[in-house]
């Protein structure tokens, strides 16, 4: 298998990647994946100084659509992410803002004891202006709500049903643990409705925000720690379910592709990870999904996150939503909502993220759904802030349909 950077050799300069880039479509600050990726690659090969030839690489949002569109197998987005990590190294590491937003578990844990106060403070305009001026997090960007209760503390008081037929380990990641324990609880209840006993292996941040901001060394230490902690679950029960699309993607492929971790332990963990909807559709394929779902009379718009596409599992949430009687689903026409993880919260990139998301936001304005469904947390926060509509994880929809069945 070729190293990410070697795939540049396959480029035939056809420009297909540039046709799908949502960022270069809305700003001149990023000239497009082809110029930055395979074309820029030769200048980074170390023939001269190996220094980054073009700092606009930093405007790539790493949505990954270019890699999926390429008919020749060039890993365009990944080439760009490796290049960004070199740029960050040349600059002497991440700036303060990127260090902070790259450590969601730390932020969540620090704010937890004072969550209501922290949320109230963060909701005020003067504070957001101050935050923007000091660490350059845009005042308009969506912020997750800190939660006073973590998912794991909820799980300790949760009584699982008797009579389970299978066991799965749950990789909840930082979002469900610190910010949205209600999503994690829905995952657990839906799995339990399907006869699963859910285990909570010791875990932690997967390091994706560090990786996508360009600090590969710090990301690698997070990755190694997480692989050690999840290694046992990869053997027993052998299935690790993830509800965060981007963290699941990171565990499945980015440790190998970007961080160069290709040891037996990392491979074992990678191969045991399933996106929650992928896992449930797998149960349905085997005729083992509990289909007693009550009707939800509503119209919803489903937006598949760009990072779900990087799983290569299609759109399993659509299959599941089709099982809910009465629920009418419209598909998003947008390739990306714009935020791409932490990209859209940055002061200098917020407007780009809003412009990228316009395709989706306009569709929402036009079709006026009752709510929006999206697998990835940062997308949900961004879309909710931009549209004012509630945005749910697909499993939350299933959880509700099961509860009333």
């Amino acid at each position: 298998m070729l190293h990410v950077e070697q795939t540049a050799d396959r480029c035939i300069k056809c420009n297909i990647c540039n046709t799908v880039c949502p960022v270069s479509a809305v700003t001149d600050l990023f000239p497009g994946p082809k110029y930055e990726g395979p074309q820029g690659q030769r200048f980074r090969a170390g023939i001269d100084t190996g220094e980054s030839p073009d700092h606009s690489i930093d405007y790539c949002s790493a949505c990954g659509l270019c890699t999926q569109a390429c008919p020749e197998g060039v890993m365009v987005a990944e080439i760009n992410q490796v290049a960004r990590s070199r740029l960050v190294a040349e600059r002497g590491g991440l700036n303060l803002r990127d260090q902070v937003i790259s450590r969601p578990s730390l932020m969540g844990a620090m704010a937890r004891p004072v969550a209501p106060i922290a949320n109230a403070v963060m909701a005020t305009r003067p504070v957001r202006v101050l935050v923007e001026k000091t660490i350059k997090v845009h005042r308009g960007a969506a912020m997750p709500k800190f939660s006073a209760m973590t998912l794991r503390s909820w799980a300790r008081s949760h009584r699982p049903p008797a009579g389970t037929t299978r066991t799965v380990a749950y990789f909840h990641g930082c979002a469900a643990q610190e910010f949205e324990p209600e999503v994690g609880a829905a995952v657990v209840r839906v799995l339990e409705r399907n006869g699963a006993r859910v285990t909570f292996p010791k875990q932690g941040c997967c390091g994706l925000p560090l990786v996508s901001n360009g600090d590969f060394d710090a990301g690698r230490s997070y990755a190694s720690r997480l692989v050690r902690r999840l290694r046992g679950s990869a053997d027993d029960p052998g299935v690790i379910v993830a509800s965060s699309t981007s963290c699941g993607m990171t565990l499945k492929s980015k440790y190998r592709e970007l961080l160069g971790l290709d040891d037996a332990d990392t491979r074992a963990v990678s191969q045991a990870v399933y996106d929650i909807c992928e896992y449930l559709v797998g149960l349905d394929d085997d005729g083992e999904l509990n289909r007693s779902l009550a009707p939800i009379q509503a119209r919803a718009l489903y937006h598949p996150p760009c990072q779900l596409m990087a799983h290569g599992v299609g759109l399993p949430a659509l299959d599941l939503m089709a099982l809910v009687p009465g629920l009418e689903i419209e598909r998003s026409r947008a390739g990306c909502c714009g935020t791409a993880g932490t990209y859209g919260v940055k002061q200098e990139k917020y407007q780009i993220a809003m412009d990228v998301g316009r395709t989706l936001f306009d569709q929402v304005t036009e079709s006026k759904p009752d709510f929006i469904i999206c697998d990835s947390e940062t997308c949900r926060w961004h879309i909710a802030r931009a549209t004012g509509l509630p945005v749910y994880h697909p499993v939350q929809v299933l959880d509700r349909a099961y509860a009333t069945a």
Binding site: N15, N18, A25, P71, L251, A310, G314
Partner: protein, 442 residues
């Protein structure tokens, strides 16, 4: 995962087959390693441009002169007609009317000032009807004669009069001087010119895609038109690069033509092809409306079999190979250039999804061809099939009951040298649609 029919490939053959099968009520999944030929080609429908090295004027009639075993012979002329008619209806319904018919080939102007032979061409590339200087949204260009098919006849449908070849300031993928010079050498009164772009978001970097998206906007067109009209002043026909709108069908072209007050002819550019992207967008919208799923970026890498049937397609996933169970498998993966067939360093050829037998050549020295992308023996390598487009072994027996092959993957034709790519794609899609529409979903 599970699907009724899996179509592998998203080029002209895969997209048409998936759409037609979904229209026939089959539940379809499209698996593609990436975008396909739509983004590279000219957005036209080539049916048959050359036979035995000579130009073809009447494509349907010239099918008789193709060698035995050619895909057109396998499916028959009725399927060719069915495929092309279906496409014309599909494209028109999507706001992308194409001009032409199977009785006579036409010429499509390229950015190089040459004419390429094709059968159906997008209305904005067709030029105004002969004898009218008025722009019309319902243009129907007359067929071109032999002279124009060999790059001597001028702008399609309008060989007489003054032609302005106009590009837009800062657009790097179209040289009006090159195009006009070639046209002049062919006896056309062509003059190069440049039109200014109104203020917009892309001053430093833009390709045909950004420009075409901007031209989708009516306000942008209104600001663009006066400069374009000035650059083309006095011309009876205005040739522009094919960038007049991306997601609004041919309406931006018709609107700009009315604003400028002269017929606008889109010249096919180097990739990315805007006319091809328009078609892809139309297919995508239609497929999504029909509930078709698709997955890009993760190639199909194998099949699972039981007896003479394929039961599942294996595709790459982020960390595991995934199996999608299916009743029928359609391979629309293309030839060597489309990555459906791998040319190995030892001279052997491998069909990438199901390991099907490939009709190629024994002697590696047969790889040698005199011209790039033309009459190259490798381009004609492919999978040999029976009359139902099922792959066959050396003795002519089907190797699987539920695999069908369409488009460039098929043996015994060279889509580039013959100028038959979209025609073969659409005719074989028509055949498979007829075969599988009759099979009820199980």
């Amino acid at each position: 995962m599970r699907a009724d029919v899996v179509v592998v490939g998203a080029g002209p053959a895969g997209l048409a087959t998936a759409t037609r099968l979904a229209e026939a009520g089959r539940q379809v999944l499209v698996l593609a390693r990436g975008n396909g030929f739509t983004h590279w080609g000219a957005g036209a429908v080539d049916v048959l441009g050359r036979v035995g090295g000579g130009p073809v004027d009447q494509p349907l009639e010239a099918i008789d002169r193709l060698p035995e075993g050619h895909p057109y012979h396998l499916v028959g002329k009725a399927a060719v007609r069915d495929g092309v008619d279906w496409f014309a209806r599909f494209a028109a319904a999507a706001g992308l009317t194409h001009i032409g018919d199977l009785e006579r080939n036409r010429a499509q102007l390229t950015a190089f000032g040459t004419l390429r032979t094709t059968c159906l061409l997008p209305e904005p590339a067709a030029g105004p009807p002969a004898g009218t200087a008025e722009p019309t949204a319902a243009a129907s260009a007359p067929p071109v004669g032999e002279r124009s098919a060999t790059a001597n006849g001028g702008v399609p449908g309008h060989p007489q009069g003054r032609v302005a070849v106009v590009s837009f300031a800062g657009f790097r993928d179209f040289s009006p001087a090159l195009c006009a010079t070639r046209l002049r050498s062919a006896g056309i009164d062509a003059t190069p010119a440049s039109a200014p772009l109104p203020a917009w978001d892309h001053d430093r970097y833009f390709t045909a895609v950004e420009l075409a998206r901007a031209i989708d906007d009516a306000g942008f067109r209104r600001r663009l038109a006066p400069g374009l009209a000035r650059a083309a002043a006095g011309a009876e026909v205005v040739v522009v690069p094919a960038v007049l709108g991306l997601n609004r069908g041919h309406e931006p072209w018709a609107d700009l033509q009315a604003l400028v007050g002269a017929p606008l002819v889109e010249a096919a550019t180097a990739p990315p092809s805007i006319p091809g992207l328009r078609l892809f967008a139309a297919y995508r919208a239609r497929l999504e409306a029909l509930g078709v799923r698709w997955q890009f970026g993760f190639p199909a890498v194998g099949v699972e079999r039981e007896g003479d049937r394929v039961t599942a397609v294996r595709s790459e996933g982020a960390s595991r190979v995934l199996a999608t169970r299916c009743q029928e498998l359609v391979l629309a993966t293309g030839g060597v250039a489309g990555n459906g067939i791998e040319a190995n360093r030892d001279g052997t050829l491998t069909e990438r999804v199901a390991g099907l037998p490939v009709d190629g050549f024994e002697d590696r020295l047969a790889y040698l061809g005199d011209r790039f992308l033309s009459d190259h023996p490798l381009a004609a390598a492919g999978v040999r099939v029976d009359a139902e487009l099922r792959p066959v072994d050396a003795s002519g027996e089907p190797v699987a009951a539920n695999i069908h092959c369409v488009g460039g993957l098929l043996a015994a034709h060279d889509p580039t040298a013959e100028g038959s790519r979209e025609g073969v794609a659409l005719a074989t899609a028509a055949r498979v649609a007829a075969l599988l529409a009759a099979t009820p979903a199980r």
